[in-house]
Amino acid sequence: MQKIGVFVCWCGSNIAATVDVKAVAEALKDEAGVVFSTDYQYMCSENGQAMIRQAIKDYGLTGIVVCSCSPRMHEATFRKTAVSAGLNPYMVEIANIREQCSWIHKDMAEGTEKAIVLARAAVAKLHRNAPLTAGTSPVTKRALVIGGGIAGIQTALDVADAGFEVDIVEKSPTIGGRMAQLDKTFPTLDCSACILTPKMVEAAQHEKINIISYAELESLSGFVGNFTATIRKKARYIDEDKCSGCGVCTEKCPSRKGLDDFNMRLNKRGAVYIPFAQAIPNVAVIDADQCIHFRTGKCGLCQKNCSAGAIDFEQKDQLIERQYGAIVVATGFKPIDASQFNEYAYNDSPDVVTSLEFERIMNAAGPTKGQLVRPSDLEHPHEIVFIQCVGSRCSEDAEKGKPYCSKICCMYTAKHAMLVREKYPDVNVHVFYIDARTPGKNFDEFYRRAVEQYGVDYIKGMVGKVSVEGKKLHVQGSDLLNGEQVHINADMVVLATAIEPDPTARSLGTMLTASMDTNDFFTEAHPKLRPVESPTAGVFLSGVAQGPKDIPETVAQAGAAAAKVIGLLAKNELTCNACVAHANEAVCNGCSQCERVCPYGAITYEDREIRTPEFRGVRRIATVNEAVCQGCGACTVTCPSGAMDLKGFTNRQIMSEVDAICR
């Protein structure tokens, strides 16, 4: 029989305001096995912990139940307290009477009743607890960064500078990401490429960084400190080691039908191409869908003209398997599809463009060599209308669009407006906005400069409709400050489209078992206190993959994620989870179902000699590698005969809890 102590925490008024803590402590005194029960204002305080230690000694307690906040908060604290008083840490049970009780009840009587029930369940479970010992597992001192945009590059650089190896897996042929597509950056108006490309070069030259471009994560197994990733390096039909990036092939390629993704598909490119001048790696890639050789078996002009002999039509996808200790998700974003917003005539006129398209039009390396012209007739525009919040801040029940604020659009629209007015003072610029959000260092000053110095016409109100009228775009909107309808005959309309997570994020989240919100942004382990960690141990978050943010914020978060990665990789070994699964050989069927649901590959089978009253002989039995098992419990619920059980959360413990609750 256990000797159990019950410690009921007030958590100041967090618990005590809705739960009669004295009544809970009193009621628990009558439970079988409970020899001591008390309450205290803050159990987690030094005094509270001293009280627990003292009681363990005075009453010879074999286990303790702490009725307090979620075990995610203080389970570790109380386990350490128990250890310091000579108890096994797994002889501690937490009854969560805060998050699961006081915070969700208003009525004192109800809250108290529920707290008593939860405490009884914990006592019932504790009766079946057994001391457990945790093992350790080694840490692979290498990080995997998924995504080679500014977030991924910065995290990789910081981790590599600390002396650890980093692999960057980038799905497109070059690193650089969205930032490489931008013309200028707010609020300083410095050239995006000028500040990004040195970082790209630094990453490429760093002896600890290995860039795996044109590649995607194919599968992942393992756990924190010991991930095994399979990376699919797509065939680019160019030998990366031989290609010098001279670009002769791209000039010779007779196919000119492919759309240039880097320039937001505003112009055409050859079937063999280098995404942009400063691409890293500076290696061409062949678009097999467009390539005449792949479509007809003829041509091969690039191959004939390549002096390095780098063209390899036979190249196949390559699978690379590597071990990692930590994984950083830096998958970034894409603008939402503007074609669903045809009220702005995006599908009807090429002169209605998204902001990122506009960014390329303004860029000297863009499709118009930086000349501001209308895509339809290449004429110089005189009236430009910017529309903000296209697809952002939509109501939850809207048919399209996102409920969140994309955060960067107010600032980049001010930037666009300012740049246009700076270079082309003859162009009138109108901005329709809901409200201008400028909470950042030097942001509001920047926005005010656009209005006050550059004379950008900011109109508070939304646009109802854009219609094509001859060569003009008729913009109908409302001016809320003046209470009137506005009609503008514009030459170009620029849509500040919302941003959304990259489409690969969802499947990646599933692969990493990293949780995501309803908008497919990765969620943090704690929204305030652990903002760069995923709830999945060993998975870290960097950049817009976690939520909309601008470049300085992204770089800051990338550094923070790197710090967390370094903290993990600096350890030589990690303490394993003691709550691992094990199979009862007397009832294991060897049916292989548990092996199939195990996300960590911890289960194997062996032919073992079994001697039970009912069976003697050799039988196929499941065995669990305790260093690999993470205690998720998937196997225990899959096992039809109940042979698989989880230490610390055995079927009997859980049934005891249920019985105590239903009593």
Partner: protein, 321 residues
Amino acid sequence: MQEMIVNRLRELLASGDYAGVIGWSKGETPFDRTPGLFTEKDLDRLCYDSFCGSNLSKYLIANAKDKKVIALLKPCDCYSFNQMCTEHRIQRENVYVIGVGCKGKIDGEKIRNGGIKGITGVSEEGDLLKIETLYGEKEISRKDVLLDKCLSCKGKEHKCADEVIGESEDTSVGNKYELVEKLDAMTPEERFEFWRGELSKCIRCNACRNACPACSCIKCVFDNPKSGVENKAAADDFEENLFHIIRAYHVAGRCTDCGECSRACPQGIPLHLLNRKIIKDINELYGDYQAGEEIGQRHPLTDFTFEDDEPSVVERRGGGK
């Protein structure tokens, strides 16, 4: 066909490679066929006709453990056999499967329920059944008295046979989910009443479990005093009803829809509807899946693809109401 089978078996057994053959013999009543392991010397007792409806694959767990045997399997039995091989309950190499032809098996109960009494013998002529009774000979069509499971026949192909003797026929008629859809359309209260009514007939004889090829655990949780649930099923009649629900969940994804549970139930509870509901859900959620189609399959509930539905599908489908 019986003669062809017996001749072939005589040949195979004469080789000495096999310890025996799993088949049927005639039982006490005209409809009764008793499963058994036959050796060369009692082969003449072996019988194969339209009353051999039972699924023999499960007997292989015990009988093909450390010796080689021959099994007579109908097309539908092959699915169970494959499923058990997948689960390592049967060693495939220990079994020589003779696929036996099947044109649908007869349900003796249906003949009796049709009002024919005092039956002394039955013979077949094409699609007709000639039934000798104390009151003279009667004729009925085979099609009217097929086993329920034959009405949702999975096809005439043997999915695991080393050789096939005799012709088979697909006897499926109509939509096999008709009754499940009817249950789906009920209100939760109506459905609860329906199942309470059906399951209250249960006498816990465990025939369903013992006949079920998916219920092949060495030790069933309901028989295991250490499982913590074995007494629960006996606590009251409601808990006892849950026995069947839990059993349906234990075989979810592995049930081949062989229909043995309902066929074996002496109380006539349509237990297969529980399993078929789960099969229908699996098919709708993860695409059509047939357990036991081949050895080594991963069933959708223990498998994962990126196309799998997110858990929110439950809400979308109106769950949780």
